[in-house]
Symmetry: C2
Subunit: 171 residues, 2 copies
């Protein structure tokens, strides 16, 4: 949990008012559906299979229990869960001791894209969450296949300055 975040936060997107709040176990079915609502994630095993519910519940508890981490969800004005993201604050030595805010697993429901939800949430991350958590650099990686996402992050002022490498353990 990131105690420094003032939550819930109310944002305004083209699609209407949004609420950003901390995820709870009640959100698990909607969160699993949101992760599966994406071909790249589904190919990695996020298939909203009810047999995986205990696995995701344990993962949610791990994130919420981890200091310097938070799992957030985004509700629209009707209370429907339309997005999620994870934030991790990472102190560090490089860049003159810069503390970073890592954004992972950003998802917006496929039926609700192009309504400015992702933009409103990422603007909140950069302009509200980052200063609130004392971080001077926001960073994330995006699968090379997500070309639309890359344009989106570039428009929001992110530089595509790095290559993101991943390696599965045990292979």
């Amino acid at each position: 949990m990131l105690a420094d975040l003032a939550l819930p936060a109310t944002l305004t997107a083209r699609a209407g008012a949004l609420t950003v709040r901390r995820a709870t176990p009640t959100d698990l079915p909607a969160l699993m559906a949101l992760l599966a609502d994406d071909p790249i994630s589904a190919a990695r095993g996020d298939r909203a299979d009810t047999a995986d519910a205990a696995t995701y519940e344990a993962a949610l508890r791990s994130v919420l229990d981890a200091p310097l981490n938070d799992l957030l969800v985004v509700d629209d004005a009707t209370g429907a869960l339309v997005g999620t993201l994870q934030l991790t604050v990472i102190p560090g030595m490089a860049r003159r001791g810069a503390t970073r805010l890592l954004v992972e697993a950003v998802r917006v429901a496929s039926s609700r894209r192009s309504g400015g939800i992702g933009s409103a949430v990422m603007q909140w991350v950069v302009h509200v969450a980052a200063p609130a958590t004392g971080t001077s650099l926001v960073q994330l990686t995006s699968d090379a296949a997500r070309v639309d996402a890359h344009r989106f992050y570039t428009r929001l002022g992110f530089a595509d300055s790095h290559i993101g490498f991943k390696r599965t353990v045990g292979s």
Copy 2:
């Protein structure tokens, strides 16, 4: 601090025996020199300026005090500090609740490159540190200009599957 890491660890590189251990405030001058010993880092402000010593000391304490984080240094057989890296364990929901091991700020002294130090350390990260910390995915980003580093990570089994985006806060 990552309590699950068995440190110090002894590794064998082509250049000889190496010791991976947790950094201490005594290492600060060598760590500052190592960060500055790189044109890309130096351009971002890591210049080993003694006026910055208190800033780096505070950053080191922040990393060592942060649960799920550790700042490591690598000594050669003579006790000279020849490398550093930061590890961060990140629980998460995506990839069926995978916990990730993020590697940041990997540096090997420029005078000691091509001796297999980086390779021995990264093999230790993947095959020892990742299992010890319960992580199933190791990830890192590398500046797009570091072409030699990209070949290095690819040889070690990392996939360059992602684009790394960064945004300075307040700009």
